[in-house]
Subunit: 369 residues, 2 copies
Amino acid sequence: MNTQFPAERILLGPGPSPVPARVLRALGAPTLGHLDPQYLAIMDETCEMLRQVFQTKNALTFPVSGTGMAGMECIAVNLIEPGDEVIVCVNGVFGGRMKDVMERCGAIVHPIEIAWGEVFTLDQIAATLDRHTRTKLVGIVHAETSTGAHQPLAGLAELVHGRGAMLVVDAVTSLGGHELRVDDWGIDAIYSGTQKCLSCPPGLAPVSFGERALARMDARKTKPQSWYLDVSLLRKYYLGGGGGRVYHHTAPINMTYALREALAIVLEEGLVNRIDRHERMYKRLRAGLEAMGLAYIPSHSLHTLNCITVPAGADDAGTRKRLLEEYGIEIGAGLGVMAGKAWRIGLMGHGSTVRNVDLVLTALREVLK
Amino acid sequence: MNTQFPAERILLGPGPSPVPARVLRALGAPTLGHLDPQYLAIMDETCEMLRQVFQTKNALTFPVSGTGMAGMECIAVNLIEPGDEVIVCVNGVFGGRMKDVMERCGAIVHPIEIAWGEVFTLDQIAATLDRHTRTKLVGIVHAETSTGAHQPLAGLAELVHGRGAMLVVDAVTSLGGHELRVDDWGIDAIYSGTQKCLSCPPGLAPVSFGERALARMDARKTKPQSWYLDVSLLRKYYLGGGGGRVYHHTAPINMTYALREALAIVLEEGLVNRIDRHERMYKRLRAGLEAMGLAYIPSHSLHTLNCITVPAGADDAGTRKRLLEEYGIEIGAGLGVMAGKAWRIGLMGHGSTVRNVDLVLTALREVLK
């Protein structure tokens, strides 16, 4: 039976991103029980570091035991009751997915749809809120991984709160790579993944819930449709309380070790430095790609993910295959309506370095000759 | 920041079980992309080994990206539509949880409740099926982790199928430690966890769906309420098909490495040998515990988990604390109605050894002096 290690890749796709050796080593530390005082201390430390990275004081900040999409679903099942009206901003795969997830929770979803690659204006969202005055929640994607579009969030919470709704944000591809101030920006609930700008393997979904979200959950008339993701149960384990910790499910122990280590690395670098590094590497890559005649798709690009048009005459799959086989570099294909038309080059977390930028530019020049 | 490894424990509780060094090393292998051909091969190998361990030919056998309870929820959301009548056998925490999960899916649950620690007879289940002739599904726990009861499954599928229903089994604490023949026993859908008798860290939930379950899912009139656990989407990634693999969510890559390695170890030992080892170690422990005057709670005990009464005069929490601090041994507390009244000593997978049996007996004798 082949149990050897796989050949190593340089992960410059839409995630997972390259994982530092320190994080891989932490991942392989001996497994503890989920109620062991040592493990509870590790989990508490992890949640505290998550608060720092989310820039929030929200007590209810923890990693959901699933990948990023479990984070999306956790927020949806806890904040929505059947018949609730919500607005979802759709400009790519992940906005569309949020709509699907919320509909499955029984929400009446009013989507705002704009062209893929574009971002939403406050006016567009205000107009939709004006048309749907019973809206309880507005969902929006900060970093649309399918198009590389970077959605500005300034002023959005004020608008949404002013109409009595909550703001839910998908930060899967921005947390740890882009400026993201949960408290200052008034975000009520947010989810992310570990395998993007935190450079931890996939398997956990950091989430954070603010006061409005807590009040909404406390006021529920029905149980959340998911037991696994029911925050009223999860908080008794993650936060404890008067009666101490209450077992809910067996947490993914080793993944928590890895996340703690990945967050420690983020905080050692410093959030400001890290966000600045992502911006510099993005500019370096963008200059190189545009010098080769390659065109960006989004009007307002992320620093963490570069979505470009496959140039006329180039072989989409063949080019990616050569990068993978000859250079050990993974870049992403187009997703959804962009399949076959786009490449996605991620510079996330540990992967966002001068070395990787210059390498992928060199490799692309060679392969596109 | 403390990033040191935790002190090692000998995990003899209700799970997680001790993880072999080989599995921890595999866990820390470099992360691949979830669509990398290397990773897809690893995942295919993992699913094939899962089929062998489940003793099934079911194509739809894969690890759900969550812990064991995500496996329970995956089966419930896919096999149940609102208004469906189901029977759930409740003789402990996990049967009760299955009832809760299925109710959240909109099922009308007819529970059969018996005393904790007892197991169900075919007659009890037949009588309930006779009272509820519209029953679509019967859910039962093979290994009740809260009581240590081992539910015989012989003849159950014939009974359930004869009334036009499906058989759903919780095998979280039995897979890889007890005889479990999914195909021979006619089980229609089954879930387990990685952190019990497979001795892999927690984080994945192996599931398997048979023909009846597939037909039921194909005949659904509504979407499953969970997008994350929707098998109609997951199967396009795990099984591929005409159009190749379709991305659904980012799988927990490194956990899959670990599960592959853990399954390789199971198959190297051989299922028959492994099940036999669990039986021998159980008998050795039971003889030792009973010689100390300690009494088993279940009428029909698992070989993988030993649930005993806390002896009169003993300090429940204090005893467990001394075992943990003086011996580095974790055993489990009582759960649910058994809190404060029971100890649960797990001998699962890598943890089920002569050394551990004799050590825990020695330590208990010392601590209970």
